[in-house]
Every structure is written in C-alpha cells, then in structure tokens.
Assembly symmetry: D2
Homo-oligomer: 402 residues x 4
C-alpha cells in the first residue's frame, strides 16, 4: 500500500472483478521466509499444491502453475499446442476475448473471430456451425472465455463441448476461466476441456502473480507437434520437474504458500458452497440494479455472471465520472467499461472472499454514488438486496428461525 | 484467529464498542521482531511514543503507558493518588462506572456513588452539589466516565470541571476515556483533568494490551502521599525511567510499535477529522434507529455518544437472541446489554478505524437481523443512514460535485 | 521497529536473556483481526489456551493469564495469597530476587531475605533452617526465583520443596519461572509449588504482554483470607470467568492467538527436546567461555542455567563498553550486568526459539567484540562451541553418520 | 512455510545463491491488501517504482518489470530484439549461461557458444575475436552472464563492452545480472549495455516473482524489427502503459509493494555500502575456504563473485551428501553443484540481506558439516573469517576504537 498518501480511514471496498480482497490468512501464509526451491521442504509443498490444485479445476490432469500473471497463461495455452499459421476459432464475447484474439495474431496464429454484441456468452450453435463448415479440419482449436470479465456474461462450456462433438471436429477446446474459477461451477474433465487457463487473483483469493494451464492428454499430444518458439511457457519443460514436486526454474514460492492456504480454505467452505455464495451475491446485486431502474449489460439470464455484474448507465451519462465520484466520496473501486463499453457501463465485482454485509456496503456505495453523480435512478437498490439476503438467510436457518 | 473452525467467507463485522478493527498498517507494524528494551534502538522508540502520545490526550503532562489492559489503568489511577479509607465521589453513568466503583471498594476506598437511570451522562450540578456539601473536603477525588460504553452516553467533562471549581473543592478529577479517547473530543489540560484513564483497543485502533494514565502535577503531588500498596501501577516507578525513554520493567514492545503507527495515523487524518468522522457515523446510526422506530437508550441529545449507540428493543423481546441471530446469519458482532440492561439493549459500535460503507454494511446487518429475529421495527434504517451520508458527502465535495 | 533509522542489513542478534526472538509463525498468528472477547469464537480460543497452557507448567491446576507483563504476575502472586504485614521468606539469588523483595515491601509485606553472593541458586538448607526456626509459623510464604536472570543460576526447586516439608512448615511456595518456563525442566504439581509466576517473552517465544500465575488449591484457600487491596490481579475475579473460557476484563486477544500457536509449537518439538536443546546451547556457550579463559558467574555447576550465561570480565575492564562495541560492530544485543554486577558481567541469552548456528553467530559476535573492546581473552571460544555441537550432532545422527 | 512438518527450532539458514532471505520490512510491505491496478492509488505506486528502479540499474533508460520470475526476463530479452534465425554470440560461463543458450535454440535463434572450463568469467578477448571475424555482422547480439550463479565467477562487462567497440561491431549487448544486481557493482548506462536481465529474488531481497529488462534506445530500435512471436514479454505492449504508471495486463501488485520498499532500503544503506558489504562477506568466506584447505572453484581472482562462493570438494567425496548432512544437522541450505559440477562443488550464498554474524553462523554450519560428512579439511575456517571481520570492523570504527 503506498505509504505517503493522506490517511483515509477504514478498509477500502475493492469491488472490481478482480483482483479480489485477499483474506488475512492467505496474506499471512505468504508473509513467511522463502524456502530453497531445490530442497526437501519445498518438495513437500510443491507436491501438495500441484496435486491439490487439481480439485479446483475438477480434473485429474496435470495443472501447470506459472510464476506469472494470467495473460501469460493465455499465451502458454496458445503457444504450447498450436503452431504459427494454425487457424483457431475464437468467440468475441467482449474485451478480453478480443485481447486473446489479438494475442493469437501476435503469436502468428490465424484466428477466426465469431462476432457478438458483448451482451451474452458464446453461442454454441454458431461454434458448431463454423466447425461443421470446416470439413478440412483446418481449425486446430476453439477458444472461449468462460466468464467474460468485461461484460459479466458466462458462456455455456458444456454446450460448446457438445457442439464440437456433434460437428465431429477434432479441434482442441481452450477455455479462459480467469474470472470464473473457484467462483462459478467449472469442470475441466467432465466438460472435455483441453486447456483451462486461470489466474490467481480472482476466485482463488490470491494476489496476482500465479497463472495456470490445466492440460488434457489431447492437448499434451498436440503440444508435441507445436512449432511455436517458447521456453518459459513450455509444458514440456514443466511437467517432468513437476512430477518430482519441483519447477524447472524459480517458482513464485510465497504465492505457492498462499495457494496452499487458498485451496484449503476453498475446501473448508466447500466448493459448492462457494458457488452458492457467489450466486447469492450476484442475484442480490441484480435485484439492486433492477430496483435502481438500471439495465444489466448481460441480456441473457442464463448467461448472468456470478462473479460480476456490468451495469449500463443511461445515455448521456458517464460511467467513469460516476466511478470517480464513488471512489472519492466512499473509497470504493468499481470496474470501468472497457474499449467499446468505455463510459457506458460500470462493473460491480462480487467475487472472491466476501460476505453479504460487504456486498451491501458496496451496493450502498453505488447507490449513493449514483445520487452524487447525478445518474438518473430510483432509490431502493440496497433495500432490494437486503430483502434477497434476508430471505436467503431465513431459508438457510430454518430450525434456528422458528 | 482460531484455526480449526469452519470457514466463513469474508471479513467479520466487528461492531462492538471496542475492541475495534485494527488497521493493517498497525498490525503489520506490530508484526516485527522484538527489540532489546534496554538498548538504544528501543530508547528512540520509547522517547517518541511517550512524547507523541501526549498530543492525543491534548496534554503536556506525562502520560504513563502500562503493558496491561484498561482495567489496570483504572486501578492505577485510584491507587496512585488515593489511600485506603479515602472518600471518592463517583457517578453511576452505567455498568462501567459501577465496575469502577466496585473496584474502589476492593481497593479499600470509600466511594460515594451518585445514582442515575443509565440513560444520560453525569450531571455536573449533582457533582457540584455533593462537593458543596463536603465542607470538610473529605472527598479526595471525583471519578467520572467520559463515554459510558454500556449506554452510549457522554458526560460533559468541561462542565464537571466548572462545577468542581465553583464548589471551590480541592478534589482531584479522574476521568475514564477508555471508549472516547481519539474518537470524541477530549482535552486533558484545558479541562483540568488530573488523571485520564485510557486503553489501546478503541479509538487508538490497537489490540488490547496497553493502557494509560495522563497525570497532572496535582495528581503527582497527591501520589506522594498515597499509602495504597502497589508496584506495577506505581507512577513513581515509571516516571524516572520514562524520562530516559525506558520503562522500569518489561514493556509490551510490539504494542508500542503499533502505538507509534497509530499516533502517526491519527495525525495524518487529523484529530478534528477523526472526531467529525465519528460524529457522522453516530448521526447516521441514530438516523437508522429512528427510522426503525426503535429508541436510542441515551435520552439526552447533548450526551449522545459518537463511539457507540445503544438501542432499546421493545418490551418482550430479547436483544441477545437478536444479536445471536445477526451473528449467525451475517457474521456481525454487536455489543450486549450489560447487567441491568441485559437483554434490553444491543449496542452498535461505530468507533475506531472504519468508514461509511462499513457502517452501512453493519446497519444492514442490524436491520436484516431484526427482521430474522422478529423484533418489531420499520424498514428504512439503512436508507436513512444512506441519506445522511449522501448529504455529508455532497457538502464535503462542493467543488467536485458541481 | 522504528522506521526512521539508518538501514542496518540483516537480522539483529537478540541475545539478551529475554525478550527472545519471536518465531514468524507466532508473529503471524498475532497479526490477525481482533475478535469480540465476549463472543463464541473467542470462547473456543479462551477454553483452548486456558486448558493447554497447563501442560507447559506441568500442572492440572488453573493457570491465570494476565494481560500484563511479568512484574505484574509477581505482584499478583504476592497480593492474592498474602496480606499486609505477612512475613515472607525470600532468597537473594540476585537482582530480580531483590526486586521481588522490594516489591514485597511496597506491598506492605514483611520479607525476610536470605543473603547470597549472587553466584549460585537458592540453598534449600538455609531455607529449611529458617523455617525450622519459625516455630510460630509466622512465615506465610517462601519465594524463590527458579532461574535468576541476572546471574544465570538455577535454584533447585524440588529440594526447596523437600526442605519445607522436612521443616513441617505450612508456608506457601511461590516460584518465579519467568526466565525458565519452557526452557528448563519445571514441574508445578510434582514439586508442590503453590504459585508459579511466569511471563510470555522468554521460553514461550512471545512478545512481552502476558504473564501467568499457576495456582495450587492451597494457594486458592490462602487467597480467600487475603486482605491485600487488588482487583486487576485478583484470582477471585478471574477464575469464574475463565471457567467459561472468558476473562473478567478485556484480555490481550492477539497475544492469546500467539500463545495458542506457541503451545502447539512447544508440543510439536516436544518439551523434553526443548529442554535438551537449551541444555546443549548452554553447554556450548560455557565451552566457549572456558576457551576464552573467562569465568562464568555461576560457580555451582549444578546451578548452571540453560537460559543464559553470565560472564565475568577481568578486573579493570568494563562489560558495558564491550557490549556497546559488539552492538555497534556486529548488531548483537547482550544482557547488561544489573545493579551490583553492573560493568562486571555481560549475559548471553540462549533461550527461546534459536538453533546451533545462531548461537555460533552470537558467540562469534562475543569473541570478536572482546577483541575489539580490548578485553583480555584467548581465541577459540567459537571453535570450542563448534566442537560441542559437532559431537552432539554426531551422536544425534548415529545411523546417518556411519 | 509448509505447516504440517515437525517443528525445527530457530531460523533456517538460507545460504543458497538466491532466493535470499527477505527482510521483515519487505515481507510486511507485501502483506497488504491488493489495490485496483487501474486506479489512481496504484498509479502513484506504478510511477514511483518504475522511476526509482532505474537507480538500481544505474540507468536512465526504461526498466520493464514483468510479473514473472527471471527465466522469463531472459526470454523477453531475446525475443524482443531478435528474430528467428538470428545469430547470437553467447559465452559458456557455466550452467546458467548454458541454459540461456539452450533457450536461444528453443526460440529458433542460432547461438554461437564460446566454450569455457566453468572456472572463470567471460573472456573479453575471445568475444572481441569472434566479432572481428564476423565481417558480415551476422551476429546480432552478444549475451553474457555478469555473475554466473553456478560457478561464482564474474564476467568483466565493461571490458566486454570495450571489446565490442574495438571490433567496431554493431551487435547488441545483453547481460544477465540475475545474481549480481544490487549485490555487485553494475552500470547499465556507463557500460553501454542494451538489455540488462534481472530478477527480484537475489540482491533485491524480494521473493521470486518479478523480473526485469532494462532497455537501451538501441535495443528498442532493434525491437521494432523483431519478428519473434510474443505478447506477454513484448516491450511494445509494456512501454506505453508504463509511461502512465500502469501495466498492460495485471501486474504482481504485492511484489511491487515489496519492490518499492526494497529500493528504499537499498538507498538507505547506500548502494556502495551494499556492494562493500557483499565484498566483505565474500572475502571472509574465501578466507574460510582457504583455511579449510579447500579450493574455490573460480580460479581467476579478479573474477571472484561477491554473491556466492563455489567450493570444490576433494576427489572421491560427494558434495551433495555433505549438503544433506549439513541441512539435517544444522538446518542450513547450501547450493548444489549443477550439471557438470554435480557432486563436485557446493555453493555458499552470501548475497542479499545478511550480516557478519549470520555469515559466521553459516560458515560454522559448513565447517561442522564437513566434519560430520567426513570431507577432508582443516579446521579454522570460521576463525579465519572472524579475523577478517574483526579487522574490517576495527578499520570501520577508528574513532570509537581508540
């Protein structure tokens, strides 16, 4: 935390869709002496996190852990199983899908980009149709963002899998779960994903600095043939070392301490409970948005995100001016509208380690900020969210409540 | 934090009237190696905190720092300047004033206790009258609690001083500021207080474990004559060592690191801003209570506390059952009703390092908890508090808001 | 740690006989949000530490935990089971025994002080003789310091017990274990101690701020009759609250988190292993002193302390000038000579959380400091300690060493 | 730190040549809430570290900070200013130079590798000769490791620069300073280096997870022409965002907090003092090696490393068995011999945040470990190092020593 700034009392409300608030237990776990990453103590840690992290992806396949933030894991996914010139089918769910596609161009791949209005998740039928047309199997991979962080829309990965299968197409399936993993139900094995890309700073409740590739056998086979230049991202360098609990180059040891704690915490709460909590916070947030008379960007209810909610501001109003006002007046950070959504939406992050009262404090900050910024809206958003939480609490505590 | 409990997500809302949430910066300052408390590095620290802590009491007099929690500082105040058999005039503002009086009995003093209904601060006139009657000056000290933590009522210390002066009585004035110091305006020198008793775990934003006596010349003179047995609490042991930056026995070094940081933080924010923030949070809380149709325990508006608000629950309802429900459902700790207020009130702490959105989250927890617990109330408390904060923010940001 | 000092690289060598280096795990355990000390989470912690701390004292009796440093626990011991005017037999083992005796005077007790040359522990025969003479049983308590921190001499408590029993005297036995508990074998129940006084900042590896009274049934019975004024220290206030896992006034919550961790750590290592480790470090230190041609202050080998070693400097040389030089040149804090030992001895603390290499670094700092300060000595102290450790390691690893 | 291991008392001696012990102040600086990396608070931090880190490289050129460990910065250096097929001149100083060369192959570059016996730094004449022969200027870059971590040999970068200039060759100069930056004098601008590669976990005293490229104008110009596929490592993505204090993708925020503190600490000590301290520790270590009758791997005294010392064990003895024994008996981690040095050398790290007594503890661990492991040696290594430190301390404290 920068030290030479004027003192603002209390705890900042970090309500962006990641990085998320890091629990004290995780920060303290990382606040420990560095180990020799070639020694026997480290090996125990390495083995434990490499094995246990699989449960979060719901996979038995290897999960590669990079000492790098999430953009690196995107690059790793593409560069390990594809080669310059390869055609890849990508889906324009929003800003981050567009960045991933731009990366594919920089990596000399040949992306086909299915367009969209940024207000829904990927359409499995469109993917299926594109694959069905590709008789020659020129398309080597399908890339989909599970939870598009710029829009708050979730793509139905199980259905995408089905569409690929129905097209009888051999393309790999690469999925970005950066803002969904450990927040929204996700199943690497069951859904037949070949490469799952993830990062530490969202549902995993860690600071940024680790990223992940969960890798299927099919992806590993494809990697053997890849001609993309790489070393840092190379699975082939990683996997033999990982088998012994080590890493081929210096890992981000202290973040691994944190990951070790984070996995424990997710299982102590129970992954299903974690997902239900995110669902509850998202539903309460949407209830608030509805009460305000504002519009949720995502217009397909089945695609609503439980990690964040993007909210449209009325025409003629500036979402960023509102955000600045809320930050100044109430010390709350909200997500900005990205590229073509700039100024038009703000995003409320409700993922990671949080609880009902914090969400209500955040929604209060939004409601008061709307007022201060002169954004037309009705009051009652917080009240609507409270009604949602009260009902949820009542049904969760039936015996005690009688 | 106990480690082997089921995982509850997010940050606990600690809304008791102390201990208060400790800022990360203070916790990290304390999370440092212990120093040799007889060495030169410690001496710099000792001199700095012993000098700087005076600014928080608004005094030039010595402030004694005990490695002990607040009850000890009560005992220190009484046992240093009084002797067994001495008559002391004490004022029954509530539970804590009663405990202090009970302590006086245990210390073989002879307390005269002015009764009250626990719904207001001390009455300077009653004190003046009692002193006026004491022609023989048998009363050696007047003891008043500045902010009665059990009731949320503030006693007007400047007026108490005036009443003593008008009675032309030589009694010492001892004031307990445990839940007011660094939260509510307080002036040791200007108000002519002889012993100010304080603790670390409220407005000072520290964990419990330090307590204080600010000591006037008159109190020091009285101490010379004291026959109360003591050593740990003895000012006479402390002061010579303190002058050199040291302590006569082992100090709570790491809490002193925290105190050093806390004083800096109070001055970075500005003590007047700290008080204004507490006033704002208290006013918003009372606005919520009023909207709920509930009654604030304190019935003298000039005595309203900016540290906490005690709220009466309607007859036939149990405040503690409500508190338990709120804790279970929303992970919020509220203060209980003490002794004769047990079950009749709950207390909302709004002191220490907090901000508007946290207060709103807390008030939402109260409002939803009232609903779950079946306490009769109207909705709209949070909305009323939001209106208060919005207005305050608007007036604080005039230029930006245009 | 004071922030605005010139940067000195590396970790300070804190080799005073307490406070001792606090392990990271304990500092991190304390670096956590404060709990409501009246709530159910706290209760679990309270019950756990109050029960588990008994194992460290080797007792089934209640152990009282004060939110105060060790001097307070001395006062608590005396003021709970004695009354003004009571005669107490105390033994002048050194500076701290003298302070305890001075405290007894301040508390209006009537101490009888058996003198000594400060170079050995208490003599059980002298105690037995004094008691035998006290036919009227005017002596109400015998007070002995187990490990005299100013001299590095240990008193044989089991033999003191035997002497009391042989004299058939009903006096209580109060023992100060401030610098021995969790470092040197100690058995409250087996040795029939009535009050064991202890502190957090030595063998318990915590910062200062907690202190302890382990209390026998006989002591509790005596407490009922005590007429000493007190409240903060009163066992009678503490015990009923403790039975429920709570405290009668605000406890030092974060230090209790640390205590919880410290007890776990002592048992993970094993108390017998902890004692053996301290014995080894003490023996290696004495080997170094002997090699330097200097004299250990303690002249009774059976009384050698495993917590610290006090070393005499040759006549005409100033131990404090040497200490200052070592601190300046090598960033090592050593203990000073106290009162009548001032300038004549320095003390090497080797207690708490440390290991062989740290002790060797410390001894190297002493040896080099002696050289820089011009204290006559022979080289080879570190080499002698290394020989001791090498032999110990060899015998600890018999199979691996073949 | 792994939690479920048997308790070993005291502080581990981490004497590998990196990662190095992280100072408490840095760990605590990182143990803080994550900021919104798109917000104004972050921007202040971003601007500060991006500007201040330049002082450590002694450059005015931009320094790129990657949220990745050091191997990534190697890849970044190569892939930004070179293209597939480009010839690069690399120097086989040891294991890490070999790994860098292997990376060049993976990145489809065409390395020319000047061989060596791994017992000295790079030879500027050999580099000059190779460049002189390259009349066609096919060689696009010269890559040299400043401090070869596997051998403890330093390459004379200023002389390499001169050799390039004398050959009148336009090749870029890329230098790996991973284990030298902030430990051994280094001057990016003065020595005309084009890309300096560095990492966080050595002289910068941070955990692993950040790495660096300091980039000259010439390197930036070359980058414009590069055809290597990349995005995460792309300078062109980084620099525009950095100019505003931001990063193009999520940075490792908490490590940046640490970097901010680390830079402050380096300047508080003074970079020249930091280098002198490393020189002193290295000289004392070599004095110990000489006293043991063992051989330092580096055989060119001007190439001795101040970061680490690699020590040859006598033929027929296993350095790794010795290391395992020292770890088991004395809780010290030493560096292993890598690839062709496996079993033949051990490496003593003496870089980062350490002091004389810690180095002596470490050397004692080595000397006792040699004894336990049956490695032929003479005693007296620690004594020789102590003599070195005593002399250094005496000359540093002239006035006080009189």
């Amino acid at each position: 935390m920068p030290s030479n700034t004027a003192r603002v009392a209390g705890r900042h409300f970090l309500q962006i869709p990641g990085p998320t608030p890091v629990p004290d237990r995780i920060l303290r776990a990382m606040d420990m002496p560095v180990l020799d990453h070639r020694g026997p103590e480290f090996q125990k840690l390495g083995r434990r996190v490499l094995e246990n992290v699989k449960t979060v992806f719901k996979t038995r396949a290897p999960v590669i852990i990079y000492p790098a933030s999430g953009t690196g894991a995107w690059e790793a996914g593409l560069s390990n199983c594809l080669s310059p010139g390869d055609k890849v089918l990508m889906y324009e769910t929003g800003h981050f899908a567009t960045l991933w596609r731009n990366m594919a161009v920089k990596l000399a791949l040949d992306p086909v980009f299915i367009g969209s209005d940024w207000r829904q998740g990927a359409d499995p039928e469109a993917i299926g149709a594109a694959l069905a047309e590709d008789k020659a199997h020129a398309i080597k991979a399908v890339c989909v963002v599970h939870n598009e962080t710029s829009t708050g829309c979730v793509s139905p990965i199980a259905k995408v899998r089905k569409a690929i299968d129905q097209a009888n197409h051999p393309a790999l399936l690469l999925v970005d779960t950066i803002s969904s993993l450990a927040s929204i139900d996700y199943r690497h094995d069951e859904w037949g994903v070949d490469v799952t890309v993830a990062g530490s700073q969202k549902g995993l409740m860690l600071p940024p600095g680790l990223s992940f590739n969960a890798v299927s056998d099919k992806a590993l086979a494809a990697a053997k043939a890849s001609r993309s230049p790489k070393l840092f991202w190379s699975w082939e360098e990683m996997l033999p070392a990982n088998r012994a609990g080590y890493f081929p180059y210096t890992p981000a040891t202290n973040l691994l301490y944190g990951l070790d704690a984070a996995i424990d915490m997710l299982h102590e709460e129970g992954l299903e409970n974690v997902f239900a909590r995110h669902d509850r916070h998202a539903a309460a947030t949407r209830a608030a948005v509805e009460a305000w008379g504002l519009e949720v960007l995502c217009r397909v209810p089945e695609h609503y995100s439980s990690s964040l909610t993007a909210v449209l501001v009325p025409d003629g109003h500036d979402a960023d001016a509102f955000r600045a006002r809320a930050l100044e007046a109430f010390d709350i950070s909200l997500g900005t509208g990205l590229t073509k959504l700039a100024g038009k939406v703000f995003r409320i992050g409700h993922l990671g380690d949080t609880n009902d009262l914090t969400i209500l404090g955040a929604l209060a900050g939004v409601e008061m900020g709307l007022e201060l910024a002169g954004i037309p809206h009705k009051k009652g958003g917080v009240a609507a969210a409270m009604a949602h939480f009260t009902a949820a609490a009542r049904s969760a505590l039936p015996r005690a409540a009688e």
